[in-house]
């Protein structure tokens, strides 16, 4: 299966899926442009972070939507040309602190992704 948090080929797979499929994934997903503007924000992500989709799409993810990730451990990693790294993290922002596992993904394509699952 390609639609799992840990799937090897998920980057390519994500790029081919329509929003409806992405919305029903069993993990949180943020799809951003290469400069960090949120293009898509799925349902599970809304549930985990408490930030609504309407309030995130079109904004800069690291400074406006999830400034709790705007640091050396997360945001800085996206400055690399390509990226596939998992990090343990804490989401705080509008919610109580939640330990999460993040998968930071960036390929050659137009978009970069952050996959999120609660720990």
């Amino acid at each position: 299966m390609n639609n799992e948090f840990d799937s090897n080929d998920i980057l390519e797979w994500l790029g081919e899926q329509p929003d409806e499929i992405l919305d029903n994934l069993n993990f949180g997903l943020v799809k951003m442009s290469r400069t960090g503007t949120v293009v898509f924000y799925n349902k599970e992500e809304e549930l985990i972070t408490g930030v609504k989709r309407e309030n995130s799409i079109g904004k800069h993810f690291f400074t406006q939507v999830a400034p709790c990730t705007n640091n050396f451990l997360v945001a800085e990693k996206y400055s690399k040309a390509t990226l596939d790294e998992q990090v343990q993290y804490i989401f705080t922002y509008v919610t109580q602190p939640i330990p999460v596992q993040l998968r930071l993904l960036k390929g050659e394509g137009d978009n970069q992704y952050m996959l999120v699952k609660k720990l």
Binding site: N55, Q64, N71, L73, V94, P97, P99
Partner: protein, 409 residues
Amino acid sequence: MNTLATEIQVQKMLAIIHQIPLGLIETDSVGNIKQINAKGVQLMLPLFIETKLAPTNLLDLLKLIAPELKAKLEVSTVETGNIINQEHYSIKRQNEEEGKKTHYLFSVNKLSTDSFMYTFDDITEMYKKEKLMSQALQDKAVEHSKFEIASGVLHDIGNAVVGFGSYVTRIKKSIEQSDIGTLNNLKLFIEKQNSAISNAIGEAKANALIDLLNGVIVNMEQEKMDVKQSINEQLNIISHIQEILNIQRQYVKGQSSDRLPINLRSIINDSTAMLLASFDKKGVQITSDIPIKVPPIKGDRTKLMQVILNLMKNAVESVFSANVPEKSVHIVLMVNEKSIDISITDNGLGFEGINGDHFFEKGVTSKSEGTGLGLANCKSIIESHNGTIHLESNGAGLGATATIAFVIE
């Protein structure tokens, strides 16, 4: 206000808090984290992971990484307000190596019975810099006091030498006023009265008396000459010692003397004199070829001596380390039409690649314990005297020649 609008407001506020470049954590009374900003996560998450604690309770973490801080919080009786203000804590890490300690600065404020605000930052780099700086200051102070001591010792030796000199001078004066004159007068008197004295004691005895007096006078004069010569030698040695002391004093003070006309011949001679013991000890033969008349150049005697001493020391060390039967250093001074050239040639280790000018760059050295500052310093001194300095070798094991050329107008 609808929920989205409220959320936008909250988002704005939190965006500000999250961008503060300081770690911020709000906890309840038992340490459960209510809020933590981006920098806070960056600073604390690695510690949570390292200690294998769930990243939800700060007090649990502090118990392990900064127990003194936790203890302070526990005994605090503050109702609301500041409990800890800008205090430095060394963070206890797992498997941390000495010298790689992490240092955090903490402030803790009690906002209400159920709200504690922790503000913190990683000050490790700053702490290290500060340590280095205070170490440097301490080193400087030690260095300074060494100079003070050296300066004091030189001063005391100088005083002793002056005292000794004036004592020797007094001896010199006192022998000038000897009894030889009186004896001469006595001899002349006896010669004049020779006939009367001959009548009284006989001619032979009278002549013998004059001979005796003559002998005494000659002996005394000879002795006086000897003493005078040895005193003069002593006075020369004293003035030589004083000269050396003066040079050393200038080193210690680090004073640069004014640009006065100086004689390069005397600089080389003084440098050789200062290093003679070291040449001897290391079995290095030193020879020189310096014309008696060398036109003076304007310069800083102390600094130029420093250069010559440095080059000579390098030559001696190189020769000493080399496996050659006859260890030698040869110094040549040549007065040309437009320049005065000094070359110091040794038959020591030498180096590959003919041109050794890169040795004059800061930080370049061939010595295991060298700093590479000596020759760089030499170069800048020579250049400040309108001169050039070069180093050449015919190859490894074939010795080297350092050449200084001073332009004369």
